[in-house]
Symmetry: C2
Subunit: 245 residues, 2 copies
Amino acid sequence: MSDTNNKPVLYTSLSPALLHLYDISSSIVVIIDVLRATSTIAAALHNGAKEIIPVDSVPECIRIGKQLDAITAGERDGKVAEGLQYGNSPFEYPASFIGGKTLVLTTTNGTKLLHMALEKGAEQIITGAFSNLDAVCNYLLQQKKNVLLACSAWKDRVNIEDTLFAGAVINQIGSHFSVNCDASRMALSLYKEAGNDLFEFMKQREASHYVRLSLFGLEKDIRHCLLSNTAPVLPIYQSGKLVKY
Amino acid sequence: MSDTNNKPVLYTSLSPALLHLYDISSSIVVIIDVLRATSTIAAALHNGAKEIIPVDSVPECIRIGKQLDAITAGERDGKVAEGLQYGNSPFEYPASFIGGKTLVLTTTNGTKLLHMALEKGAEQIITGAFSNLDAVCNYLLQQKKNVLLACSAWKDRVNIEDTLFAGAVINQIGSHFSVNCDASRMALSLYKEAGNDLFEFMKQREASHYVRLSLFGLEKDIRHCLLSNTAPVLPIYQSGKLVKY
């Protein structure tokens, strides 16, 4: 699928509802859910979690959690889901708590998209957020394979923060890929416009997820999730689990 | 569906594959297909066409054309579709040719989306392009109803030019609506970044549709379709036909 100039191709899918448009059978799919699933995944693995099992429903999360005697965590609509022990904030998983443990995680958008990519036959699945931006970029450069930057969005509606992260990746490594994709160009534009202070940009634009999480008092989470390279690990999906590469 | 501040709401759908996310039963849906269906629709009506019948397949276009002894036109993949008489360029419909006539039109993206909006129960359907930007904005201001700016995209993939038009509308009249929609914010950002010379912006960014149509020698069409208010009419869908409001 690489084009005539022999560079691998890179596309951006702005919503899970657009994933079907892309052939991912020979691509690395980067699952992006900046607020907050993929930020939390990077934080937990960086802080020593043994593995993270992403599941797509709360009952499944509870069932596997019991079976493995693992920590169950997740959110629905931005709040800790009923029946689960922990939420979807990177601050909930310091090394003192998560070190050596298994986390079973389900979220509104991110883990759902991961399972969609799996069912669609992605060659590889990794997760990306600002907290592990450089790790993602370095891995993609090293692999030299086709890439789909897959934004988790919010209930299929395009969102600013996941698009910004796609733009950040393209800004850093886009020249190593053949990018014939307007969504990627739009993501790059948005990222360049946002400048250095992503939190301020999200706030000024009244990004829908900024508004939603602020109402729950989660400004601290938003601010943290927009910082780069605070959890420099590469989560990769292998045999049903996200582990540190 | 209008929110607490009593302004009507405005959303942007960046692709037909996202249309299902929006309740349009009490909304005016603006079908946007800048390159080139909605530019051609505005041009033909401005130049005196009696009416335009948008249909979603080539056989249907031929059948209705024969039945009404009307002009059949349309494209598939950017070229005149086999079996039809005319294409999808605004330059094909000068007043000397189209005055008083009925045009039956089918296109890859725009007329398809119009039928989707119809099936989904849109309260009203109008069409928008840069060529009738002010007419669209004035109508929406006057109606004071909820609005969905619906981009036709390219085979469901988000495109720059339709997003730019959504941004242009929001730039002009967004303050009269309640806009809680990241896609709208992204469209506005892109439009503001593009500045005055949209053609140059599309060219510089190598927008996918710019590249596609340029290969067919259609730079002149692209340039024309990005100019504002060259065909100041409002096409509105009534009883199966697009007519001048």
